[in-house]
Each structure stands twice: as structure tokens, then as C-alpha cells.
Symmetry: C2
Subunit: 150 residues, 2 copies
Amino acid sequence: MATLRFGQHVIKASAVFLQTELSFALVNRKPVVPGHVLVCPLRPVERFRDLLPEEVADLFSTTQRVAALVETHFNATSLTIAIQDGPEAGQTVKHVHVHVLPRKAGDFQRNDSVYDELQKHDREDEDVHSKWRTEEEMAAEASDLSRQLH
Amino acid sequence: MATLRFGQHVIKASAVFLQTELSFALVNRKPVVPGHVLVCPLRPVERFRDLLPEEVADLFSTTQRVAALVETHFNATSLTIAIQDGPEAGQTVKHVHVHVLPRKAGDFQRNDSVYDELQKHDREDEDVHSKWRTEEEMAAEASDLSRQLH
């Protein structure tokens, strides 16, 4: 596995910490909170309705596994789990993806600001290279997470 | 089916428009947008991690079916799908539930305000009877939706 397709993007294998039969999970170049990761179907379909039953089952069993992992690993106490399904919901990457965010008390001044940040996260015009984490930093996090799954 | 348990609440059968082997879907007494509905496991567990594999699969295949239905029925073009999993993520009803919100262009002045409303939606102190829809209104909507599924 050298790269994986994520909508219009190509994801380096080093950012992927879990691959199942039909899904994969990757760390984020611009996490909204520490441990903010994405879970996607391997097949690059745009909308949630396009997923086959076996893809839905695999995507959410993977999400459940990933959610438990990042909640523990990042010392959180709750999780925000969200799909922005379609452009009017803030989706820009045309590939179904589940946002998983470990949450803890006081992580945002207003509890719901997490969602403002989540919407901004996906916007192309806010997506400037200078704000991205380094490939090395992402690879190290993915490797840490992966180790705990195997 | 006279009533169903939803965390600390008891839901009238008239508000439930779909029941599967392991899940159910209900209309909302205070929808954030028209067609804002909830999908829940029948078993009243608090956290997403508590669901068994077959419950996860059923919950999200039901969510997929319900999402397609409300997007069409409410003439929307996108969907926001979210779980507030744990108190630090805004969960107050101690029973896993997936929020499904049909979205359309211009439904909120700021696209991400939907999430502010979603957080407020679950708060007990904002949950005053005077803001609820009538039981009749909810039953009529549930009946409309149910008819399209059968």
C-alpha cells in the first residue's frame, strides 16, 4: 500500500493507521482537536447513500474501533462523530468520510465551537499548506495508533 | 408497540416511523431543520462503544435508509449526520442516537450554525414544553414518513 485515494487527494500510506477489508482510517493534517481522525470507505464514493450494505457495516465497525482508540489514547472523555454528507452540509472532499474527534471538558470555550472548526476544516480556501502538520509528525502519530491496534 | 424507551424518556409509538430488528427512528419534538429525525438502537445503551457489532450494522443501515428518505421528502440536497457521544460532546439523553438533518442551500445564515442549534437541541435547560410541536403534528409527520417506507 503506497498511497490511497481520498476523493481528489492522494493519501500517503504513512498517514493511514488502519485498513480493513472495505475501509481505512487516517490521521489529519489539520486536526481540530488532538486525535481528530477520519474514517473512509476504500471505494471513493461521494455520498453516504452510495455505499453498499457491507461498506456501511465495515465503515461503522471501523469507526467504533477507531473512536474507542482515540478517546483512550488522547485522554478524552467523549467523542464527536460526524459526516458532512453533501456540499450544503459542508462537504468539500468528494469521498464519504466520518470525522472522529476526541472531546474533553473545556476543549472549546463554547462546547459547540468544535463544529465551527469542523466546517472550516474542510473548506478549500482555509486549507493553506503553512497550517498543515509535517509528514513526519503525521507518520509518527499514525504509527503510534497503528501499534495499539495490532 | 405502545411506547419505546429513549434514555430517560418514553417515546410514544406515534412518533416512531420505522422499527427494525435492532433500531428505531423517530421524529423530533423540536427539529432544528424540517425533517430533523433521530435513529437509535432499541437497546438503551449510553455510549457508541457499548453497541454490539450487529447493533452498529443495523443502526447505520437504518440511518442510511432514513437519511435518503428525509433528504428526498424534505426537498433537501445534503445531510448532516452526527452523534454527540458523551457529555463533553453535548450528549444529554443517555441513549446512543444519530441525528439526521436534511440540509439545503441557505438553511442557515452561517452554514455551521446548524451545529450550534444541534447542541442547544439536547440541552435540558433549553427544553421547555412551550417550544415542542404537538403530538398530533409529530404523529402526522411520522405517519407520512412511515407510508413511504412501506
